[in-house]
C-alpha cells in the first residue's frame, strides 16, 4: 500500500533525528521503486510528488526521471502536470532522458488544450537542452502568433531560451518582436521586451532597426507613468512597475551611443526621475532603474547631476537596500561622472564603516573605483583604518585593494614604502603574496629610499606587536638586501646600528618556533647576504646557520648546507649574493611579437650597444667557461661514483629532462622553495611571457641584461656539451651560473658540492644535489638558487636529427632537433650551431626565425655575437618551437641571418623546408 504524500510528510516531520528520517526516506524509496517496477500507473503521480518532496530533503531521486517521461506521455492533464513538474525538479544532468521527451513535448505544443501547450512551453523554457530547442524552434515561433495571450507570453520567454542556447535561430524571432511589443496584454509585452533585450545581446547589428521602436516605447512608458489607478496592475499606487523597469532597461540599451535617441528619452526620464517619491520600494525600484538608464545613455549633464543626487539621497537614507543599490549604480557609472561623484566621497567612505557586509563590500569597490593619484593617500588611509575592525574575509579584500592602489596610483615612492609597511604591519597575514614584489620593486628602483625602507622595516621588526609572517619576510628580505646601506647611512645620520644587533635579531627570528619555515628561508637568505654586505661577521653567521644543517625541514637543511659550504668560496659567495639588478618596468608588458617587430626597426642601433657590452664582458665570460670546464672534469669523476648505485636503480630520467625543467619550472610551489627568487613574483605572467621578456632583451641596450644572457648561454652550451659527450652514464653537473629561465628558477647545473652529494649517495639513489648559485636575472630575475638534480643515464643512443640549413659565405648553420614536451604540448628544442670557416671573424650575429601560425617560436639569445674564424669554436643559439594547434606537418620555417664580416654587413633570408623532423 502506497503512502499518500500527506502521510509521508507527517511521518518525516514526526521523526526526531536525521537517522530516522533517512530510514523513512530509504524505505519509501524502496516502495516507490517497487511501484515503478510493477508499472503501478494509478499511483504514479503520487509517487512522483513524493519524489519531489524527497528531492527537497536532499536525497537522490534520479530513478524517477524515466517515470516522469511516462507521465507526460499520458493524455490526462493531471498526469502531464505532475510529469512535467517532476521532470524539471528531478532532472539533473541527464540529457538523454530529456532528449527522449522531445517528441512528447512536440505533440503537446500542438495540443488544442492551451494549458497543455503552456505546460510544454514552460518545461521547454525551463529545462530545454540545445538539441531540443533547435528541433522545436519552429513550433515556438508558431506559438508566438497564437490566439491566446496566455500562450504568446510563455512562447516569448521560451524563445529567449532558444536563442540563448541556439543563437543561429535568432533570425526566426527578430520579425515577431514588434507585434509582441504592440500587444495589449502586459505579460506578452513584458515577454517581448525581454526577448528583444536578448536578441540585441546576440545580434547587436539589429540595434539600428529596433531603435525605430523608441518613440513607441516612450509612449508606453509615459502612459504607465501618467496612468492613474489601474486596478489590474497596481502595486501600491504604481502601475505595473515590472513593465516600467523593463522598458527603461531596453531604452538603456537602445539609447546607448546614440545622441539622437538619447535626446528623445530626456523628457520622460526627467519625469520619471522627479515624479516618484522615495518612500516605497516600488517607487525606488523605478527610480533606480531610471537612474541607471540616465547614467548609461548619452544624457545631458544636468540630468546626470540629478541622477547622481538621487543616488546620494539613497545613500544618506536609512534604508540599507537603497544604500546598496546606490553604491552599485555609482560603481557602474563611475568613469563618466567622477566629478559629481567627488562631492559624495564622504558619504561613500562612511559606508565603509557600515555594519552590513554587503554594503561595505560595495563601498570598498566604489572607493577603489574613484581612486586616483590625487586622492589615493587619503582614501588608502581610510581603507587602512577599517582594516583592524573588519571581519576575516573582508580583510583580504581590503589589503588586496590597498596593494593595487599602492601599485597603480602611487604619487611618490616614499608614500609607497610607508603604506606598504603600514599594511604589512597591521594586516600582513591577509595580504597577497606579490606584496613582496612591490616592495622589492620600489626599493630597487629608488636608491635614495633603500636606507629609509630598511630602517623603517628594521625598527618595525624590533617592535613586538608586529609578528605576522608576511611582514617578517619582507623585512628580512629588505634588510638582507640593503644591510650595508642600512649600516653605513645610520652612522652618517648619527643613529648607528650595530651589525651584531641585526644579526642577533635574525637569530631570534630564525630560532623562534612561532615563525613558519618559509620565514626561515627568508632569514637564512638575509644572513648569507649580510655576510657579503658586512665585513667581519662571517663567523657569527656561520654559527647561526650551522644548527640548521640538521633541520627537520629538508629545504632549510639544504639551504643551510649549501650556504655553509659557500663560505669556503668567497668569490662565488659574493657573486651569488650580489645586489639584484633593477627590473625594467617596460620589459614586463612587452610581448614577443612586439619585440620581433621592434627589432626590425631598432636593430641597427642596438647591435652596436650589444657589441660593446659584449666586449667589455668577455673576460668575465672566459673566466666562467674555464671554471666550468674544470667543474665538468671534477664532476665526471663524481658521476662515475654515482653510476654504481644508479645502474641498480635504473633511473630513467636523463639530462634531457633537466633541460625541460629549466623551461617549465614556473609553478608557484617553486616560489616557496626558492625564496631567493621571490622578487620574481613581480611578474605574474606565464612562463611564455616571461621567457619572451628574457628573449626580448635582445633589443634592450641594457648591459646587465646582456651580461646575464651571456652567462645563461654559456650554460646552455655547457648543458649541450654534456649532452653530447655524456655517452653512457654522465651526471649532469656543471658549475652553475644559474640557467635562469622561467621564473628565475635558475636550475643549477650546479657544482655538486659536498652537502648535496653526501645526501645523494646516502639514499642510494645516486641523486647528486648540486647547487647552482647562478644569477639568472636580467628582467628582475633573482638569483637562481637552483637545485640541480643530476640524475645520470644519459640515453645517448637516441639519435636526434640534425640538418645544415645554411652554408654560404663561410658561415655554416647546423640545427639539432629534439622533440620535447612543454606542459603537455609537443615542442621542438632546436639548437643551432654557427661556425665560421673564413679567415676573419664574423661580428654582430643576428639570427631570426619565423614559423607558421600554428606554431610558436621562443628564442634564447646566441651564446655570442662573434663567430671566431677558421672553425675555431662555434656559437650556439637555442630556441624552441611549440605547437599551438594540433596540426602534424613537416617543420618549415623562415630564417634571417645577419652578420658583419670585415665591417661589411650581410643579410640573408631564406625559407627552410624539408627539415628532418615531423612535428
Amino acid at each position: 500500500m502506497s503512502l499518500k504524500l500527506h502521510d509521508l510528510i507527517t511521518k518525516v516531520r514526526e521523526s526526531s533525528t536525521t537517522s530516522s528520517t533517512r530510514e523513512i526516506i530509504s524505505q519509501e524509496c524502496v516502495q516507490i521503486r517497487n511501484a515503478f517496477r510493477k508499472e503501478d500507473t494509478k499511483n504514479r503521480p503520487r509517487n512522483i510528488s513524493k519524489l519531489i518532496y524527497i528531492d527537497f530533503l536532499g536525497f537522490p531521486t534520479d530513478f524517477g526521471q524515466v517515470e516522469c517521461l511516462k507521465l507526460i506521455a499520458q493524455p490526462s492533464y493531471v498526469c502531464k502536470r505532475i510529469g512535467y513538474l517532476g521532470l524539471s525538479v528531478l532532472l539533473t544532468e541527464n540529457e538523454e532522458v530529456l532528449f527522449m521527451s522531445t517528441n512528447i513535448i512536440r505533440s503537446d505544443l500542438a495540443s488544442e488544450n492551451k494549458f497543455i501547450v503552456a505546460l510544454a512551453l514552460s518545461s521547454l523554457g525551463n529545462i530545454g537542452s540545445v538539441e531540443m530547442l533547435r528541433d522545436l524552434a519552429p513550433e515556438v515561433e508558431k506559438l508566438l502568433k497564437s490566439q491566446a495571450a496566455y500562450i504568446r507570453k510563455k512562447a516569448a520567454l521560451t524563445a529567449i531560451r532558444t536563442i540563448r542556447f541556439v543563437p543561429e535561430t535568432v533570425d526566426r524571432f527578430v520579425g515577431c518582436v514588434k507585434s509582441l511589443l504592440s500587444d495589449k496584454n502586459h505579460g506578452v509585452v513584458l515577454g517581448g521586451l525581454q526577448l528583444l533585450v536578448e536578441i540585441l545581446k546576440i545580434e547587436p547589428k539589429t540595434i539600428s532597426e529596433f531603435r525605430k521602436l523608441v518613440p513607441g516605447l516612450l509612449r508606453m512608458l509615459k502612459s504607465l507613468v501618467d496612468a492613474g489607478y489601474a486596478p489590474e496592475y497596481d502595486f501600491e499606487g504604481v502601475t505595473d512597475p515590472f513593465l516600467q523597469v523593463y522598458i527603461l532597461k531596453l531604452l538603456r540599451i537602445l539609447g546607448q551611443d546614440s545622441k539622437k535617441y538619447s535626446n528623445q528619452m530626456i523628457d520622460i526620464l526627467t519625469q520619471v526621475g522627479t515624479s516618484s517619491g522615495l518612500n516605497k520600494n516600488v517607487e525606488n525600484c523605478i527610480l533606480y532603474e531610471s537612474v541607471s538608464t540616465i547614467l548609461t545613455i548619452d544624457s545631458p549633464n544636468r540630468l546626470r547631476v540629478t541622477a547622481i543626487n538621487t543616488l546620494s539621497k539613497f545613500l544618506t537614507g536609512k534604508d540599507n537596500n537603497m544604500k546598496y543599490v546606490a553604491l552599485n549604480t555609482l560603481l557602474k557609472g563611475v568613469n563618466k561622472d567622477s566629478k559629481s561623484l567627488k562631492r559624495h566621497r564622504k558619504v561613500i567612505v562612511k559606508c565603509l564603516r557600515d555594519k552590513d557586509i554587503s554594503i561595505r563590500r560595495r563601498a570598498l569597490d566604489l572607493v577603489f573605483g574613484i581612486m586616483n593619484k590625487k586622492n589615493v593617500k587619503e582614501l588608502t588611509q581610510e581603507l587602512l583604518d577599517c582594516l583592524p575592525k573588519a571581519e576575516h574575509d573582508f580583510r583580504f579584500d581590503i589589503t588586496a585593494k590597498v596593494c593595487t592602489a599602492i601599485e597603480r596610483f602611487s604619487p611618490d615612492d616614499q608614500w609607497q614604502i610607508d603604506t606598504l609597511v603600514q599594511v604589512l604591519t597591521i594586516g600582513g597575514q591577509y595580504i597577497r603574496d606579490d606584496v613582496i614584489a612591490i616592495m622589492t620593486h620600489v626599493t630597487g628602483r629608488n636608491r635614495g629610499l633603500q636606507y629609509y625602507a630598511s630602517k623603517k622595516l628594521y625598527n618595525s621588526l624590533l617592535d613586538d606587536r608586529y609578528r605576522n609572517q608576511k611582514f617578517i619576510q619582507v623585512a628580512a628580505w629588505v634588510i638582507g638586501e640593503f644591510g650595508d646601506i642600512l649600516l653605513k647611512k645610520s652612522i652618517e645620520e648619527n643613529e648607528p646600528i650595530d651589525p651584531s644587533q641585526i644579526i642577533d635579531l635574525c637569530q631570534i627570528i630564525i630560532t623562534s618556533s612561532r615563525n613558519e619555515d618559509l620565514t626561515k628561508y627568508f632569514v637564512l637568505n638575509t644572513l648569507i647576504k649580510l655576510s657579503t654586505r658586512i665585513e667581519g661577521y662571517n663567523e657569527p653567521i656561520k654559527e647561526i646557520i650551522k644548527p640548521f644543517m640538521k633541520h627537520v625541514n629538508i629545504e632549510i637543511q639544504q639551504r643551510a648546507c649549501e650556504y655553509f659550504r659557500l663560505f669556503e668560496d668567497k668569490e662565488l659567495l659574493v657573486f651569488s649574493f650580489d645586489r639584484i639588478p633593477v627590473k625594467d618596468d617596460n620589459l614586463e608588458t612587452q610581448k614577443i611579437e612586439e619585440i620581433e617587430e621592434n627589432s626590425n626597426q631598432n636593430r641597427n642601433t642596438n647591435t652596436k650597444v650589444q657589441e660593446n657590452s659584449n666586449n667589455q664582458l668577455s673576460p668575465n665570460n672566459n673566466n666562467n667557461q674555464n671554471k666550468n670546464k674544470q667543474e665538468e672534469n671534477e664532476l665526471n669523476l663524481m658521476g662515475s661514483n654515482i653510476n654504481i648505485s644508479q645502474n641498480q636503480t635504473q633511473e630513467s630520467s636523463s639530462i634531457e629532462n633537466l633541460l625541460q625543467l629549466d623551461f617549465s619550472n614556473n609553478n608557484n610551489q617553486n616560489v616557496n622553495k626558492q625564496t631567493t627568487n621571490t622578487q620574481n613574483q613581480q611578474s605574474n605572467q606565464s612562463t611564455e611571457d616571461f621567457l619572451s621578456d628574457i628573449f626580448g632583451t635582445n633589443n634592450n641596450p641594457n648591459r646587465s641584461v646582456n651580461n646575464t644572457q651571456n652567462i645563461q648561454n654559456n650554460n646552455i652550451q655547457n648543458v649541450m656539451d654534456l649532452l653530447g659527450t655524456g655517452k653512457g652514464n654522465g651526471t649532469g653537473m656543471g658549475r652553475g651560473n644559474g640557467f635562469g629561465m622561467g621564473k628565475g628558477n635558475g636550475t643549477g647545473m650546479g657544482r655538486g658540492n659536498g652537502a648535496g652529494m653526501e645526501r645523494g649517495n646516502g639514499t642510494g639513489m645516486g641523486r647528486g644535489n648540486g647547487t647552482g648559485m647562478g644569477r639568472g636575472n636580467g628582467t628582475g630575475m633573482g638569483r637562481g638558487n637552483g637545485i640541480g638534480m643530476g640524475r645520470g643515464n644519459v640515453n645517448s643512443q637516441k639519435k636526434n636529427p640534425s640538418a645544415v640549413i645554411y652554408n654560404q659565405d663561410g658561415l655554416k648553420i647546423q640545427m639539432n632537433f629534439k622533440l620535447v614536451s612543454v606542459n603537455g604540448t609537443p615542442a621542438a628544442m632546436i639548437q643551432s650551431t654557427f661556425t665560421n670557416s673564413t679567415q676573419t671573424q664574423m661580428t654582430g650575429l643576428f639570427f631570426q626565425v619565423a614559423v607558421p601560425k600554428h606554431l610558436q617560436v621562443q628564442m634564447a639569445p646566441p651564446s655570442s655575437k662573434i663567430i671566431p674564424p677558421n672553425n675555431n669554436g662555434k656559437v650556439t643559439q637555442t630556441f624552441r618551437i611549440i605547437k599551438k594547434q594540433n596540426i602534424k606537418t613537416k617543420l618549415t620555417m623562415m630564417t634571417r641571418i645577419q652578420f658583419k664580416i670585415n665591417g661589411m654587413p650581410i643579410s640573408k633570408q631564406q625559407e627552410v623546408k624539408n627539415l628532418p623532423l615531423i612535428f
Binding site: L85, V89, G125, I160, N321, K323
Partner: protein, 147 residues
C-alpha cells in the same frame, strides 16, 4: 536573469526550489542551498536584503517563518526582485488563504504552478495576481467535477 528561487523555513529546510540553470548535481545543489540559507538566516533584520555569494546575488526576504530567496545575475534590478518576491507571497496568500509552510509542503504542485505562471526561464512573465491564479482555479474546478 533569475538563477533560482528558493523557499526555506527558518530552520533552513528547503520547501520549494526552482532552478533556471541546469547542470547542478544534487550534492552541489544541497551544498549551495545550505550555504546560502545559512548566510541569509544569520543576517540581521536591519541589514540589506542582498547578499553576494560567489558570482551570484541573492535577494531575500522573510515572511513570518518562511524565507524567500532569489538568486540573480548582475543585470537584474534588485529592488524589482524584492517586489517580485512580495508579489509571489501575495499570490500564494491569495490562493491558499493565509499561506503557511504546510500549505506549500502539501500542495507543492500548486505552488510550482503559481511560480511557473509568474516566471519562466529566469524571466518574470506575469505579475497580475488574478491572471496568475485563473488557470489554477479552472483546474481545481475541473478536478472537483471529476470527483
Amino acid at each position: 536573469m533569475i538563477k533560482f528561487i528558493l523557499i526555506v523555513n527558518k530552520l533552513g529546510q528547503t520547501r520549494l526550489a526552482q532552478y533556471y540553470t541546469t547542470g547542478l548535481s544534487i550534492n552541489k545543489r544541497v551544498a549551495l542551498e545550505n550555504e546560502i540559507t545559512r548566510r541569509c538566516l544569520s543576517r540581521k533584520d536591519k541589514e540589506c536584503s542582498f547578499l553576494e555569494f560567489r558570482d551570484l546575488k541573492v535577494i531575500y526576504r522573510r515572511y513570518a517563518s518562511l524565507f524567500f530567496l532569489v538568486g540573480v545575475d548582475e543585470e537584474e534590478n534588485e529592488l524589482g526582485i524584492l517586489e517580485f518576491i512580495h508579489c509571489l507571497v501575495e499570490t500564494l496568500d491569495k490562493y491558499f488563504e493565509n499561506v503557511c509552510e504546510l500549505d506549500l509542503m502539501f500542495n507543492i504542485d500548486k505552488a510550482y504552478m503559481i511560480l511557473d505562471e509568474m516566471a519562466l526561464n529566469g524571466n518574470i512573465i506575469e505579475t497580475n495576481k488574478k491572471n496568475i491564479i485563473a488557470p489554477l482555479h479552472i483546474i481545481d474546478q475541473v478536478s472537483k467535477k471529476l470527483k
